[in-house]
Symmetry: C2
Subunit: 327 residues, 2 copies
């Protein structure tokens, strides 16, 4: 199919050769909502196929925990090891537009200039389903472009973590030292999906506090059920200082150890298959729902029925039957 479209064919070849500009263009195509762009994007992705070798790491952390500093230091360490690193930002609540590119590149200044790194900010998009598809497809493009590590960054304040955890091989949570009972408002669901908790800023005056915070989270992780598909000692909490680049190598070793264990035991492969099935069903659901919402008359009807259910005038089952009667 790509052969029929010379520009797509060139794009695929340039992208496979690892050209960052081609990758950026392909992602822009994926992010477009124009129907013809969507068709081209699907053709491109199908032509590129899947590359199962890249390590996909999810990283969550609320603003202020030092996420940019961490990604900058961690990414540079990896590129110095000869790895090619792609960084994708996922923020469904973001209303940032063009300015965000500058923003993301400014906050990771050195990494953005590294020829072995590629940084892509989050597009402004309100719809979580759309963000999921765009992120998944962008990961596939980065893998086709030969990146060894794809780091997907989220803001740690919503459902985006659960979504990202369904796309990655390893999920890490970055925290700042905190004291007292209520540790910096970590969403309960995030603790549930984290393979690793990194307590950042273990430097200067905060060092001892970081150690205590780390112990608290290690306790909380132990208290919860250990996943049967984890090696001994995981999920794990560690301290680090992205600013002083302390603990970054240990963090990488730990991620690598977990990934290697999962590959050896087949957990890696089975998780990816489960994730793919999940996204297939999610896509079916999204595309079906789109049919309901694209038609304005149908959309009004669904809204009316939803309100009737909320007010207790109709049962969910009854309302759903009515909503789908003409579909």
């Amino acid at each position: 199919m790509v052969a029929k479209n010379p520009s797509l064919s060139d794009l695929a070849a340039d992208l496979r050769a690892g050209q960052r500009r081609a990758l950026a263009r392909a992602i822009t195509l994926i992010e477009s909502e124009r129907a013809d762009h969507r068709a081209q994007a699907q053709t491109l992705i199908a032509a590129l196929g899947t590359n199962k070798e890249a390590l996909r790491i999810g990283l969550s952390g609320t603003p202020g925990v030092g996420k940019s500093t961490f990604i900058e230091s961690f990414g540079l360490m990896l590129t110095q090891m000869g790895k090619r690193v792609a960084v994708l930002a996922v923020d469904p609540s973001s209303t940032r537009s063009g300015g965000s590119i500058l923003g993301d590149k400014t906050r990771m200044e050195q990494l953005s200039r590294d020829p072995n790194a590629f940084i892509r900010p989050s597009p402004s998009q309100a719809h979580l389903g759309g963000v999921a598809r765009r992120t998944r497809e962008t990961i596939a493009l980065c893998e086709a472009a030969g990146f060894d590590i794809v780091l997907i960054e989220t803001v740690g304040v919503g459902q985006s973590e659960t979504m990202v955890s369904q796309m990655v091989d390893v999920f890490a949570l970055l925290l700042a030292p905190a004291g007292g009972d209520e540790l910096q408002g970590v969403k309960r669901g995030i603790m549930e999906i984290a393979d690793l908790v990194f307590v950042n800023k273990a430097d200067g005056a905060l060092k001892s506090q970081a150690t205590r915070t780390c112990a608290d989270y290690a306790g909380a992780l132990r208290l919860m059920r250990k996943r049967t598909q984890d090696p001994d000692g995981f999920p794990k909490a560690m301290t680090m200082s992205a600013l002083e680049t302390l603990g970054l190598a240990a963090a990488w070793d730990t991620i690598f150890e977990l990934a290697a264990w999962r590959k050896d035991t087949g957990v890696w492969q089975s998780t990816r298959q489960t994730q793919a099935r999940h996204w297939f069903h999610e896509e079916v659901r999204q595309q079906l729902l789109q049919r309901l919402t694209r038609d304005p008359a149908l959309h009004d009807k669904v809204t009316r029925l939803e309100n009737a259910v909320a007010n207790g005038d109709l049962s969910p089952s009854d309302a759903a039957s009515q909503a789908l009667a003409d579909v």
Copy 2:
């Protein structure tokens, strides 16, 4: 609509009069998978309307924590207070059939003979979507039959907790005393939805251990983010002994206090509305997916596409488009 069907009309009247036999018959109608029964069930539910007064309590606990003893003691205390109590069991993994009725009634012997109580075991059904609908509709029937409290019991080992949490006003987790690091394998997600943690068996030799377990969970609950829609001190952990009927009154007072606070602040009403909207969308999704799976040819196609996605031969988006091409 009910008027057109004399037997349904009688059933509705008997049910509204609080007759337990009519309630049991109506639930059997709801559980049936026959299309004509389904239509009758929908008509009945629409005719009965919704009663927003009953307090819906979710109760989760793994086998061995003393759930039956708790429900028996707690239920009898409530009926002695003049309340009418319905107990529903939700266990999507259950393969129990007719025998379970005897089982559930045996394990709550006194309560099952109490004229102000109604116990309904889980039907054997593999499909979570089906269990959700059946449970929701059974709750509506119990409310129409004038029950003051509907207690929905789950086994604490799967996705059924999340489902039940979307149907109830208050969610409680029952635990047994435990020691050491890994406290009895509580699923991480359950801690996330629990309003209350009851550490049972705080009697005899286990008493001091129960106190320690309670403190551990209180710490874990505090460590996680406090929901903004909670009064001070919630989520809360408490000890009790269902066997010695100690702490049951305190448990009820605490549930009542939380429910009253939520009613006063409007959280109750807004939560129920959000839940209703959720179930409407879930029903739309289920009914759409049923169309895909009911047709054998279509079902085969979807399975083939899903496997292609799992093997990396197709992207989820592409496969979903193909699956829906003929729908």
